[in-house]
Symmetry: C2
Subunit: 335 residues, 2 copies
């Protein structure tokens, strides 16, 4: 029931995802059961393909996230988080209120022991069909260096598990390459990251290089600047898409014929497609006890479909277990 176009796009996206997920995976839909069944019928899709958990309430975008999460006990979001923490589902995603989703993460799923602050991340597009990881993309601003330094380990384990990158190179977003560059936060974080033995820290990385994948696979950033990067990337995608004389829909239509003949023609298209948030589906919460993803409020069906597929990879990688293992000896830090 979360997002501007729920439940229509959520159901449509789930139907799209059915064809893409593994046969052992199962999609559980939380929401108005009657509407869900009507919509599935409209898409000529049997309700037997899904588990449906009927809920009666909706957390609206205008609601106070923390209050609504507690008060609306039968909202799709509150019930979903309950199922997640009870082990009835393996991961939970919603395009609903980000604030309420974070309440669910922090108060129901809870941070992994030893993690000071969980973080939200995005799979960055990198030229030549690869992906990197950018974290934080907006959860913690004015983050302490100790918090940022933990992103290094969180991101490294995530990139290795979910993206399959061996010994991922971790870079600190900064405005110069040399040690000692940047603001006070970046300088202090550099010193902490440098001391971490369990990650492959490659030093500072400038924003010029994060999309080239030349220097690093994981980019550590404060939530303020990470959010600026994420939104700017989305804006560039939209502007490029609107202005390009090579219509993306036409190129995609002709892809089966043209791409084998001239793969270079599609490098450009592939990069910009990957820049579209719809190709990942949303941001990934890292550092809590179970897989959680937050979709865009304005998610399309395609975005919901990607959200489900990314979630499946996230669950199958057992990244939360690996994070718990890595942080088990970390002394919890009081904030």
């Amino acid at each position: 029931m979360g997002g501007d176009f729920a439940p229509e796009v959520a159901v449509e996206g789930a139907v799209m995802a059915l064809k893409k997920i593994g046969k052992d995976s199962r999609i559980v839909l939380f929401g108005d059961e009657k509407r869900i069944r009507e919509l599935l019928k409209k898409h000529n899709c049997s309700a037997d393909n899904f588990d449906i958990v009927g809920t009666t309430e909706v957390i609206e975008m205008g609601d106070h996230p923390a209050k609504a999460f507690i008060a609306k006990k039968d909202s799709s979001m509150t019930v979903g988080f309950r199922h997640l923490v009870d082990g009835k589902i393996d991961g939970f995603a919603s395009a609903g209120s980000t604030g309420a989703m974070m309440v669910g993460c922090m108060q129901v799923v809870k941070p992994i022991k030893g993690v000071i602050r969980p973080v939200i991340s995005t799979l960055m597009p990198i030229v030549m069909n690869r992906r990197g990881l950018l974290l934080d993309v907006g959860l913690n601003v004015d983050a302490k260096p100790e918090v940022l330094a933990q992103y290094g380990l969180l991101g490294s384990i995530f990139a290795e598990s979910v993206l399959g990158i061996k010994n991922p190179r971790v870079g600190l977003l900064n405005i110069g390459e040399e040690e000692g560059k940047g603001n006070a936060q970046a300088k202090a974080t550099y010193d902490l990251l440098k001391e971490q033995k369990d990650i492959n820290f490659v030093g500072n990385v400038e924003s010029s290089y994060i999309f080239t994948g030349k220097y690093c696979d994981v980019v550590v950033a404060d939530g303020f600047v990470g959010n600026v990067i994420l939104k700017m990337a989305e804006a560039m995608y939209r502007i490029n898409n609107r202005l390009t004389p090579f219509k993306p829909w036409l190129l995609n239509l002709l892809r089966p014929v043209l791409e084998p003949m001239c793969p270079k023609l599609y490098y450009h298209q592939n990069f910009w497609n990957a820049m579209n948030y719809e190709s990942v589906g949303g941001t990934i919460v890292i550092g809590v006890n179970a897989p959680v993803m937050i979709g865009h409020g304005g998610s399309s069906a395609k975005a919901i479909c990607s959200l489900i597929c990314t979630m499946e990879r996230n669950i199958e990688s057992r990244v939360c277990d690996k994070l718990r293992e890595a942080f088990k000896d970390v002394t919890p830090v009081e904030e």
Copy 2:
């Protein structure tokens, strides 16, 4: 003599700029006079078109900026700044060491009375062939809210004078539109900008909108995040340019024929051309007593040509006089 490819590209760019500047404008070249004359000869350009001031020393990129600026009294940069402050030239630009350029700005040209910290800015490309202003792009990190609030007035006057935008809309770069969003610095800056009566402050602006020109013409940002935006824009330009199947050089070649027939074909090209640093030539120092611009170290001849043309507009707008007038009643703040 500044920049990776000096003096070759500087002279070549100056020759290119000769055809673009007004007939009352005069380009003064500072550097190795013999080399300059040789290079002008190579380009079949009479030395009479320029004033040449011979200098014998060069500030290298490895030099300590402040020490080199003082020690190398006969470097093109030190002599250039001396000419500027003596009124022998009206503006000074170089692709040399940014650090040394800032020493010249702060110690020779000096900040305008009342301006806490001068700032470096860039002319942002905005869809449909317009320009906006982004400041700071990397000079002052961890800037105090009082410093950022002054960028509002500095940027507003600059945009009105140099870009010809009437009553420019000033936005504060933030990660949410509503008042109260962002980090501590952004929140405090918002409160100060809101109180300024002499600017048209339109509130927070997210990075999604800075290139659309939808909400504002002037974007105020801390130097850290502004630098991240600038470098990311340059990276996007390079990636797009490298991957696009519509070769930019070919489109530019065919422009005289194709653009009148199909202007839409060029919207895309025009936007990305404007995203290229070569189209502006460098960053503009705002808040010092005379026009100063800093080119990229790796400047091409085209970039130097743009640098000279942007400088000409800067000088003709008499923006420094207007800034002095606007700040004359501001009580100097001790940092």
